[in-house]
Amino acid sequence: MSLELENVVKLAHDGLTSSLPGWAAAAIEYVLVGVLLLALYCVLALILIFLERKICARFQCRLGPNRVGPWGSLQLIADMVKILLKEIVKISKSDKLLYYVAIFLAIIGSFCTFGALQFGKGLACIDFNVGIFYILAISSLGVIGILLAGWSSNNKYTLIGAMRSGAQLISYELSAGISILTMVILAGSLNISDIINGQENAWFIFQAPLPALIAFIIYLIAGHAETNRGPFDLPEAESELTAGYHTEYSGIQYGFFYLAEYLNMFIIAGVATTVFLGGWQPFHIHADWASGFNHVMDYIPSYIWFLGKAFSLVLLSLWVRWTFPRLRIDQLLHLEWKILMPISLLNMLVMAVWVLIF
């Protein structure tokens, strides 16, 4: 009696290893996991785009897409087909190699980070002792893609957009990284499984309320900035730079940037969920009288918990995006280097002391 997918995964693994030699089973599993992840990546992107369009329409007193399919849900499929069929415009004076490599760097960075998330109990593709470090490292690959895209397009708008983006992403990476390190101090491990298991009784945000909350807020701000979304959407500030670094891309190439951007939003929410809100762990109250409540919470499958938390954070990010105006580049850097960064460093110290005392 369980809605968990853990058993399905185990069953598949056992079935494969018992009927095939080890190397063949492993090969098939690699391919299967890759395909499943890719499918999940695309489906999530579609859901996110649909959600964003519907939700932002509600914020703006509009209806959003409502003609194609029920509640306009097929609009996305139509848009996806359109973007796949569009001509890929070749820019004659661009740096060809970098121009094509850039998109893949952006999407690989995003996809590899996505793959490291744990979506539910037993639903982890890679799980090794420096998991969270890996996430931080591989997600930075995207910025190289953006810089190369801006540079190789041979366009002044894209170049300014890319330079802004470089400055922005690299700066905000620091706060995001330090916030996560703060939580690593609390968890005592870089392993994602350990981090999640450490939150079985209480999510980290409740285990050390003050420093964890500060780290959580800083991580949300920094993460929001890393995804290049308003109020931090300077790299693609359409009123100044038309579309920023991806001005010259068309068709599916543009689609890749678009996809990566949306998924990055989810990834940031996913990492925040994992590190601060207990990952796929259900909400438990650590007290004797609450065992009935805890049991009910356990009944909800772990992947629903994970997705639910992650989507709540995504909703928060949409809300912020559609409310605030854009910052200017110097204000953006001021916010990071003079406010967020010192606070998060101090916060890390507080967390260390906290861990020593309690």
């Binding site: 932002c56 703006q60 802004r164 500030a237």
Partner: protein, 542 residues
């Protein structure tokens, strides 16, 4: 008008002064420079309008000068060249900065050579255009100016000629370059989401910091003033709305007033009141769009849609009564095209409290937002002196503290009987220019409220002749449109077509303020400052 007389008596000894609508001094080019300096010293610090004109035996320039302090002060100076050959007139760009673009325009259309002007490029037409289109003997044969079918570089936009006299009194041309070699120049526009129309800005950048902005006009130049010369007066009304399409009603009102003044028509009180209501509704609609676009340019798309949502209500009111939405086409010479719709009064009464409520929402959503404030405060400061010199009127001028509301300084169409305030700010930064629009909406609502409850009932249109012919003479009418001081100059020879029509565009001076405001600011602020000036390109290009 005493003040004007004092000025005239102190400067115009030995010159011909005509008492027309405004005192008019006629001089030769040689006398002009000295007279200009005297006029400036006597407090006429605004060059409101500069009109080139072809008198068939010579060319002329008409300067409308006014004061930024004294109400009801206006002096007109006509400078006539001796003949068609010797057409050099000294430039006055250093006395009134607004002359910079105005003189370029007169040069472009009439070929009048402004001596010592630092940047005598053609403003609307291409540098290699043959002929001067506003001259009466212009040959419009398309073969003379074929349409180029291949890509061309924009380098010829950068060569700035200056005319000056050499020692022997001969005109010589010196050339200098707009941008130095190696400057990082970015083209913003003409096709760009944030220039609010087809404006082409050449921006020289140092990283993110702006060194120089050079606006390029003419991408939507339709030659409206030239078209007016071959159209009848009722036909011209349609063209006025297409200048600044966001304050079309007010432009049309200005032209009607000018014709009515010339014809000596007395229009019904009801028509007068409804015209004001329409003007103020248009002003609200325009300010809402201006507010929304400014918010959008700062990245807040939600605010833009809020503005559009409420503007839609005004458009619906217009549609019900006038038939049109953006170009209402409601004012005609002598009154209104038809009486108001039975629902009109109720709709307007419903709208006033709604708009007041929404204004509060705007302040919550955007005005008090720390990011918005941080972006706008202390940015792009336009001092009052600069505003006066550049001729930046309207909300942008009033944000700098210049009391330039034509409804107050030269009341027209019954505005003097209405109780409202002229909103003034002091610093002249972007935040003031932002806030003043929302404050003016409140004042407009107040005006409408006073009129809507007791509309007179004396018909909507005065009797006009079947064919409208203005008596020979010159007429000038100023109105306050949503962007500033809009002026209509009509020179009539008594025919059914005007001899020359000139529209004083508030937007052109607004655009000329971009360069001084944006220097040493970031590129993101260029867009925001441009939006805060709220210019409409078809108004500047005409």
């Amino acid at each position: 008008m005493k003040k004007t007389k004092d000025i005239i008596s102190s400067v115009a000894s030995g010159l011909t002064v005509e008492e027309q609508q405004y005192p008019t001094i006629t001089v030769e080019p040689k006398q002009w420079r000295k007279l200009a300096e005297k006029l400036k010293a006597n407090g006429l610090d605004v060059l409101l309008n500069l009109t080139g004109i072809d008198y068939k035996d010579c060319l002329g320039v008409i300067y409308h000068l006014t004061s930024s302090i004294e109400k009801n002060t206006m002096v007109v100076v006509k400078v006539k060249t001796p003949d068609y050959e010797d057409i050099a007139i000294p430039s006055v760009y250093d006395l009134w900065e607004s002359a910079n673009l105005y003189e370029r325009e007169a040069y472009d259309f009439y070929g009048i050579k402004f001596v010592n002007h630092p940047d005598l490029r053609r403003i609307f037409l291409r540098a290699d255009w043959n002929g001067y289109p506003f001259r009466k003997d212009y040959d419009a044969n398309p073969a003379l100016n074929p349409i180029p079918l291949v890509n061309q570089t924009v380098d010829d936009m950068e060569d700035m000629p200056t005319l000056s006299f050499d020692k022997e009194g001969k005109l010589i041309t010196k050339h200098h370059q707009l941008f130095e070699n190696g400057e990082y120049v970015v083209n913003i526009g003409p096709q760009h989401p944030a220039t609010h129309g087809v404006l082409h800005l050449r921006v020289s950048l140092d990283g993110e910091i702006i060194k120089k902005v050079d606006p390029n006009f003419g991408y939507i130049h339709r030659g409206i003033e030239k078209m007016c010369e071959s159209k009848t007066y009722p036909q011209i009304l349609q063209l006025t709305e297409r200048l600044d399409y966001l304050s079309g009603t007010m432009n049309r009102h200005a032209f009607c007033l000018c014709c009515e003044k010339a014809l000596g028509l007395e229009i019904p009180k009801r028509a007068e009141a409804v015209r004001i209501i329409f003007d103020e509704l248009t002003r609200i609609a325009s300010h809402l769009l201006g507010w929304g676009c400014m918010c959008m340019d700062m990245g807040s798309i939600t605010a833009f849609i809020y503005g559009m949502r409420d503007r839609e209500k005004i458009m619906d009111i217009f549609e019900e009564t006038g038939g049109g939405r953006l170009m209402v086409g409601y004012n005609v010479i002598g009154g209104l095209a038809n009486d108001i719709h039975p629902k009109f009064i109720d709709q307007v009464k419903e709208f006033i409290p709604y708009m007041r409520k929404m204004l509060k929402e705007y302040h919550i959503l955007f005005t008090n937002n720390p990011i918005a404030k941080g972006r706008m405060e202390k940015m792009g400061i336009l001092s009052m002196d600069k505003a006066v010199s550049l001729g930046v009127t309207g909300p942008s001028g009033r944000a700098s503290g210049w009391a330039c509301d034509v409804r107050k300084i030269e009341p027209y169409a019954g505005y003097d009987k209405i109780d409202f305030e002229q909103v003034l700010f002091e610093t002249g930064d972007t935040f003031d220019r932002y806030l003043i629009r929302l404050k003016e909406i409140e004042q407009s609502l107040k005006i409408i409220e006073q009129l809507i409850n007791n509309l007179p009932d004396d018909g909507f249109k005065a009797k006009t002749p079947a064919i409208i012919k203005l008596p020979a003479g010159e007429y000038y009418q100023r109105v306050e449109n949503a962007r500033g001081d809009f002026g209509v100059y009509i020179n009539s020879t008594g025919d059914k077509n005007p001899y020359r029509v000139k529209f004083r565009s508030p937007c052109m001076t607004l655009i000329s303020a971009l360069d001084p405001l944006c220097q040493n600011e970031k590129i993101a602020d260029l867009i925001m400052i441009g939006a805060s000036l709220d210019y409409v390109i078809p108004c500047a290009d005409r």
